[in-house]
Symmetry: C2
Subunit: 259 residues, 2 copies
DNA sequence: GCTTGACCTTGACGCTACGTCAACCCTCCA
DNA sequence: TGGAGGGTTGACGTAGCGTCAAGGTCAAGC
């Protein structure tokens, strides 16, 4: 007669595993000797080896019991199902591997490559890290909610960076938000630039077009994100309203009012 | 301000997952409103999306916190390690798939193919299912403990089945163990056959040879297995001893005694 | 003002396949 | 006779949430 340790050693498993199989009813509890020790016969070794063979093949313990005394057809069917599960799991992990291969560093996290190069170009034209991070977070929201449509936006955004007024705008914004001045006079200049750009876009019809096409974007979420990032943006929003523009991520021309 | 449900919906995760991230400190708990509800800003959506991006890529939650604000070098190193882990896991599952592909049906469980064909040949020569199962269990023990050496045994065992005396032996044993007779007279015939075969093997030197080479086999375990399977084998063992042979799986010639 | 349904709260157990104490008992060997 | 090295049960820990349970809250329609 064998002790639990000897049984485990013969089958190449741990004592704990054997007790676990007892607990879940996979291996029947053997007789105890006078001192309460479990005592096993040679047949238990065979049972245990058969269990381990299936377990090593990736069969969940909950199914091994049924499988061990199933007919050939049932067995084959179960084996097919387990193989399917394994294939799916492997595919999930392969996908994970591809995903992490994309994650080289900070920016690329949750962002498609064209946005990453847009952010890089922002840095090149002298945009401060704070402002770039703000842009990044905004694009993360867009990329998460509208992964397909982001490809429509980016070419235009990247092209904008060739406009010297846009470059100037980002530099001014960088200066403003890198300082701690509460009512920065440079906010006026920024507002002027933005109004000017909005005017142009409106003339080209880009804004009306956008209004319809991008109606489902989470503009309020993007607005909230910006305002959370820096309260001075509230002031900038006011200045824009003075110039006849409302909204933040989506510009709207206000009805003319007696100023 | 967003409720937890809205936050979760924006990021494409479950409410439970968000609460879990709070619990493990991955996502900071937000302020509560008057009624105790959690209220989130837009920045929380960005944080949550960044977390999910890493989690979807297979990064364990316990590491995501460190990773989100790590420098590029640390990040790259961590990504490499995670990729290694994923590769290992995939390889383990691939191995599992290969294993279950082998497990077509009953016998092949835990047995190499040559043993399976040996068992099939046993059936062909008219061996009963009970005896075949006994043989199978014995070979499972041998295959588990000495997976390499089993290739040394099998050719000889398969060749033995061409000997009409061996065929006769298995048929007699099948008859005996399929019946319920306690002191079956056919046990005598079985003993005669076994003694005869042992004598021949001894003459060819197969037994002495085996004695040294297979000294490390678990003969006592194999003996125990047989005796557990059917108590009538004890009687057969006695009969063999009368004929000058001891042991069961490994025969030994007894010293001649005045009988 | 009341109901109803959808949403929020905390707390707790469940899942897989065991690993790892803790606290204690039993056996064997020098 | 004592110590090493077995064995016993019981309980918690792992990863990442799912899924009740037992309530409190909110918004809408009557």
């Amino acid at each position: 007669m064998l002790t639990i340790g000897q049984l485990a050693a013969y089958a190449g498993v741990t004592v704990r595993a054997v007790r676990h199989y007892h607990q879940i009813g996979l291996l029947p509890e053997p007789e105890r000797d006078a001192s309460g020790y479990r005592r096993y016969g040679a047949a238990a070794v065979v049972s245990l080896i058969r269990i381990r063979t299936l377990a090593n093949a990736g069969v969940p313990l909950s199914q091994i019991g049924r499988l061990l005394d199933a007919d050939a057809a049932t067995f084959a069917e179960a084996v097919r199902k387990i193989d399917r599960d394994l294939r799916e799991e492997i595919e999930r992990l392969e996908t994970s591997r591809e995903q992490i291969a994309q994650l080289t560093a900070g920016d690329s996290l949750a962002l498609p490559p064209e946005v990453v190069s847009y952010l890089d170009r922002l840095r090149e034209i002298g945009t401060s890290e704070r402002v770039v991070e703000g842009e990044r977070d905004g694009w993360i929201l867009v990329a998460a909610g509208w992964p397909d449509r982001i490809h429509e936006f980016m070419p235009g955004k990247i092209a904008q960076l060739d406009d010297p007024r846009v470059v100037r705008l980002y530099r001014v914004l960088s200066d403003i938000f890198d300082s701690d001045v509460r009512d920065d006079p440079r906010l006026e200049e920024a507002a002027d630039l933005m109004a000017c750009l909005a005017e142009q876009a409106y003339a080209y019809g880009a804004i009306n077009l956008g209004e319809e096409a991008y109606d489902d974007l989470p503009h309020d979420l993007l607005d909230a994100l910006a305002l959370e990032a820096d309260p001075r943006l509230v002031r900038l929003q006011d200045l824009m309203r003075e110039r006849g523009w409302a909204g933040w991520n989506r510009m709207e021309r206000l009805p003319e009012s007696p100023a």
